[in-house]
Symmetry: C2
Subunit: 411 residues, 2 copies
């Protein structure tokens, strides 16, 4: 053990890690009900697998408690890579999780079309399928980091309403070509088959661009919480539009002005103006580690990592600051960034043991740069309720504790 | 039982769910038999989500029964896209699933090195991490489609020993740079911490190329069945080398000549020769749909789809034949093919209702073309036991039934 520690110092370029190894190990593992393992696993025959492979007893990543109406947040701090584990995507329900029998599922496509159509799930699966990786993000994601957050807020609570999966389904334009969109159709109204009958209006241009009718995520059928058997996917636009348990698509000449595009998902701006139909999720990044309640066990090299995404296309670069935005260094992006998808960024940081403020700043391929919280506040006001993409900050204290920095402290 | 059902009613927020709720409750816990859904889900308040999202009661993709020593096959026919669901990767154990306490995990790196090293899991996680998508494939995958298969064999049984996930860990060369490889080191011997203490030899060039020490897959920690907390990843090479529950890496001047590189994972060839250290998985494709027991319900457009991969790099193209190889059409690849990763191919086929034989043929970026079964048999003989990458064939009967075509019928 001594030997291993000595070497790690060299490995991570640190001078004096001390208890680092042991303490970091503890922190990496959050055991549930006291799991046990054989003293020497080579001396004990292991068991056979079951029909599916379970998680290790030492690993229990969880959503925050589920709600019939409201959000449950995804444990971003527990993830590595870019793909969100299928069963740990955030949830936001308006009337609970609808249970739909796939053999009775029907999707009506009608309105200003040449030939209205009703599709079964089997019908839909005979259209040419498409597979793409895209993020989803609730328009309200980040609210908990904007309005008077406490320093002991986790990244799960601040930014846990986003996910990134490999979706499979049919491009909506393929189905719309089948029904024949009338020239006066300007909007697509999508309606869910849950108890809230959630409906939203989507401009026809987006419907004919990259929107999809998806029936699978990460290789398998959608799960009920995410709209089984079919949901709408509107890549890069606020998640509320991505109607789950999709039952109806109506082509119209005007927007529906539904509750969720007037009373909700619209923002009062400074000067008695209102921002409505603010569909696109602008470029954003968020640190996932180190964040509260992580405690760095001592000076030396620590990986800074997080996720970045943009509703307008690919992430072009992510910069990281360890001095509260005074200076920035370009982070390494993991793999080729995909359009409208999470990309993982990393930066190796040699902590000197002094106080530090960690930030990340995304730039997308359109040249859009994630704004400072000061710029965000000037544009959107203190009452903003959606689309919080300002730069987030985490303070590293001399004792290694990491806490969130409330925006009010960044003025 | 009553109590749990009543509980479930509350859980799914139902006022008047009737029997639907109770049934749905049962499934959420234990799989189907006969799931039900409300007649109209818009009239019934749905339930809140749990700490993780369960599969729909109508969907129960499963591995074949697990074995302490032997394979369990992955349900390829149930997957779409390219990412393999984390809990449905194939398994192949030699002494069952080892249970390792992550806080006690240690990896020894020694042998012909300057500075031997022992790493804890926390140590390993402080090295710069890397995220990449790669396939894994058992060297024996395809055996069940080569040796006298029956027409009613499924693609799960024929080719279900392959998977494709987003892996995160540390490049092995980063750790090897730390220990300082001696000039006379020619092989890396990797040893698992399971009851079989499975060990394999890997040429140093591969170890210093793209091999990884991985601790996560599809965004989350490895599951015990797949080597928790750390396995070796040897991209594009036979899965047996990708040692699970990795506990020791030894740099040596000669190969170990372990059981799994002499008695097993070596092939007798025609003419009293033996193929040993046949590491690379050559280019291959396999249809996942339509395959037995799918039955096409009538003439018309049907999607033909499957997976293709190569251990030598990217897939360049996949061709599909519907007439038993007489003519070929280039299939559409979904997304940009990644090196040493599955890619999904698709072809829209207009079935005229007559008999047809479906085939797919992969070509990789090196120009290597997946061989016919005749060419494969000539080169490898009837006794071949590994690396079965010949073109597979599925027969579509006039009644729409689809069956596997045994290689003997393709001469």
């Amino acid at each position: 053990m001594n030997r291993s520690r000595r070497h790690l110092l060299t490995a991570i370029g640190a001078g004096a890690v001390g208890l680092a190894g042991a303490a970091a190990a503890q922190e990496a593992v959050a055991p549930p009900p006291d799991p046990t393992a054989p003293e020497d696993a080579t001396k004990v025959l292991g068991g056979a697998g079951g029909p599916t492979a379970e998680r290790a007893a030492w690993e229990s990543p969880s959503l925050t408690p589920g709600k019939v109406t409201g959000p449950s947040y995804s444990p971003l701090q527990d993830f590595v890579g870019t793909i969100t584990p299928t069963d740990l995507q955030f949830q936001r329900h308006h009337g609970g999780i609808a249970i739909i029998d796939p053999s009775r599922y029907q999707l009506l496509v009608h309105g200003r079309v040449r030939d209205p159509l009703t599709l079964s799930l089997a019908d839909l699966k005979r259209f040419p399928p498409t597979t793409r990786v895209h993020f989803l993000e609730c328009a309200g994601n980040g609210r908990n980091g904007y309005r008077d957050p406490k320093p002991d807020t986790t990244v799960q609570i601040i930014d846990g309403l986003t996910a990134n999966l490999e979706w499979t389904g049919v491009l909506l334009k393929t189905v719309l070509a089948e029904v024949g969109v009338q020239p006066d159709a300007r909007w697509l109204v999508a309606e869910g088959g849950d108890a809230s009958v959630l409906a939203r209006s989507i401009p026809i241009e987006k419907a004919l661009d990259d929107a999809m009718l998806v029936y699978a995520a990460n290789g398998e059928p959608l799960r009920p919480a995410y709209g089984y058997p079919v949901r709408l996917l509107v890549p890069g636009w606020e998640a509320n539009l991505n109607i789950k348990w999709l039952r109806r698509l109506e082509l119209t000449d005007v927007a529906l002005q539904a509750k969720d595009e007037t009373a909700k998902y619209a923002d009062a701006l400074p000067g008695d103006r209102v921002r409505q139909f603010s569909f696109v999720m602008d470029a954003k990044s968020t640190l996932t580690s180190p964040t509260f309640p992580t405690r760095l066990t001592g000076p030396g090299w620590w990986p800074i990592t997080g996720l970045a995404w943009s509703g307008r296309g690919r992430i072009a670069r992510v910069d990281v600051s360890t001095d509260g935005g005074a200076t920035w260094t370009e982070a390494e992006l993991q793999g080729e960034p995909l359009p409208k998808a999470h990309v993982r960024f990393r930066h190796a940081w040699n902590w000197d043991g002094g106080p530090a403020v960690l930030m990340s700043r995304a730039t997308d391929e359109t040249g859009y740069v994630q704004p400072t919280v000061q710029a965000f506040r000037a544009a959107r006001g203190l009452g903003a309720d959606y689309h919080f993409n300002a730069i987030r900050a985490w303070r590293v204290h001399p004792d290694g504790a990491v806490t969130f920095v409330p925006p009010a402290e960044l003025t």
